[in-house]
Symmetry: C2
Subunit: 448 residues, 2 copies
Amino acid sequence: MEDTRKEIVTLLRQKKYRELKTVLEDLFPVDIAEILEELTGEECIILFRLLYKEQAAEVFSYLGVQERKQIVSAISKDLLSYILSELYFDDKIDFLEEMPANFVRGVLAAASPEERGQLNQFLNFPENSAGSLMTIEYVDLKQQMTAREAMARIKRVGLDKETIYTCYVVDNTQRLEGILSLRQLVLADEEQRIGDLMHTEIVSVEAHDDQEAVAELFKKYDLIAIPVVDAEQRMIGIITIDDIVDIIEKENTEDFQKMAAMTPSEQPYLDTGVLRLARGRIVWLLVLMISATFTGAIITKYEALLSSAVALAAFIPMLMDSGGNAGSQSSTLIIRGMALGEIGLRDWARVLWKELRVGLIAGILLALVNFARMALLGHNELAVCMSVAVTLLLTVVVAKLVGGLLPIGAKALRLDPAIMAGPLITTIVDAFSLVIYFGIASVLVLNK
Amino acid sequence: MEDTRKEIVTLLRQKKYRELKTVLEDLFPVDIAEILEELTGEECIILFRLLYKEQAAEVFSYLGVQERKQIVSAISKDLLSYILSELYFDDKIDFLEEMPANFVRGVLAAASPEERGQLNQFLNFPENSAGSLMTIEYVDLKQQMTAREAMARIKRVGLDKETIYTCYVVDNTQRLEGILSLRQLVLADEEQRIGDLMHTEIVSVEAHDDQEAVAELFKKYDLIAIPVVDAEQRMIGIITIDDIVDIIEKENTEDFQKMAAMTPSEQPYLDTGVLRLARGRIVWLLVLMISATFTGAIITKYEALLSSAVALAAFIPMLMDSGGNAGSQSSTLIIRGMALGEIGLRDWARVLWKELRVGLIAGILLALVNFARMALLGHNELAVCMSVAVTLLLTVVVAKLVGGLLPIGAKALRLDPAIMAGPLITTIVDAFSLVIYFGIASVLVLNK
């Protein structure tokens, strides 16, 4: 692939367009799209123009926003309307959503009244809804058809349909009555009735359902497509697995970003401007900086203790880091478990009990290792060693409990568990850890 | 669903088995499996025995390890061998991998010599390889067949095949020559030859390829199945999209766990024992605790400074937390971008430049806000306010640079970027931040 890319760039710069055309013919559209995304504006357009029409349409469906905008402004009206006509309906909607309003108006004006209505309806679905993912290209059958008639219908209309592997049986008002996989249809006797072949237990979604819930259904039932219906069970479209794989990755990216204290963004990192990147990070950095005032206030309160035993200060970072790490281990496991549906609200007591024991094991071990290290290697007073060890044990246990329960608590309050992760837990655990540390040190170090 | 569950449990406890059977008949196998997983051992077995044979086999394929082991030990030999014969080949392999060796030997002994060979081969593929995911159930066609003959073959053999939506055209030595979707076959003229219809550009994998790489191909080419071939391009099996969706989630879970400094584990949280949970966390907690010795040593070195200006200690937690948060924001974005293939090694300079600017913007803003807060609200000396502000600015910039570049560096050294995340970066940034802080404070606070 890397070699092909280099060959293409070389041919392009040598303006050997005829040879270039031959090389391009044998490539997968998605690979051509990848190469286009690495070229500069002008080269990108030259290369795109060398593609034959059908290929151009497919390559276009894989391109990023920047490249699409460039190409749209440079190609002929004819090619553009050909590409638009070849795009699957859901890809067309995605594309229109990215383009400026006057371009969209142009496309709507050129569409047939029926298509215009559909485009308008789909453009108005909220961004993360099932409706925004769906396509109107599917095969619908009627109960009274035979398998033979159904196959004939698929042959007639199938070329335009994004997926023909699941067929939808509807009545005259488009109400969904059953589903039938192409597999079953192919394997059926030709004279059997669709009404007898179809399944009537249907997993479906409504257009305003959240896309994350739709992805859950795909995972649970191993689907390759799901029908989208309105409140009266009338078919309005289908969602296919390829879009769901993207959604799963997007939802995961969102969780990663939230757990690292950022405002989630769907845009790829390299395409995001510096100001926008900064904006997504500053809010949480400010919130967390100001919440660290607590820990500062605690230290200030114990300034007298600290000046009389300044050695205590050396262990503050270690205590805080260990607490933070212990807490984010637990919260990550719980947040992930909840996202995958393995842990629910009613499991809070089991989580509490597990984390308590894990915290005790980890805390005792860390405290012992650290006590040994400090007593043997450092030149610390026994009172300081004891204070650090006891604080470490208690900090790890509390961090595990807070890390385990805070995400569940957040979910119970209908807040996002991922936002409760790492940083917020760190602040709580930090404050707790300092209070314990100075509390114990007051007794052990001052009164020794 | 919740109501159905309650109804079933009630009927079960009232021993109304006949009614129970009727209720169960209308449920999806995956939903029955979910209910079974919530029941106690004995009830689980009673309920399972009430299922009719075909349903039992399907429900079984959705169950967890614990439930499967329970059921296997309680059901009749006949039902067990029926279930085994109904399981798809890849599900059967998964199941055998979970069971104790003597059970596996029994199954192998009962299998036909041909199947025994296949089972042995598949049981020996490494855990995360393409081979461990694949199934041998696919439709193979020959070039010289017509579309009509191909359809007839699918009808004859198709019932046993996990997916018939992609057919594989092989020669007499099983070498893969082309692929053909059922969709194309259905839409084709009955007399057309398979050799003319098939595609010869094939995306395939080898059995020892890593499952993550396989998932990448599915995402890139929007596949629903991929052929697995040996070094001579001979077909040995296929991998289907439903297994890939699981792999994507598993890989994401692994990244979440590594980034929170844990040894990754595939087992669901609630099914994992306390000792095992503790083991996965303690190693990193110990490593990070001991690496925090650096920060301790730095503070000890500046003990004299600290005792003469103990107010400085109050800001150590805030500085360290801000640095840690700023760094993990950057590392998360970069690690995720690399996992999704959006950021590569050659992008290091772009990342550096972006993070430098984001770091400056965020750092200046945080430093200003904090300076204002300290100067206006606290009763701090100007020299302390200045030291904190300058340290904050430098810490945020360095944290962003380290967070952005460390994962890329790890990848360049063929290490796992996710392991380099959060905690390790925190340790580096903490140490840097303290050195700067005390360095500046030595000048500003002591020499004032």
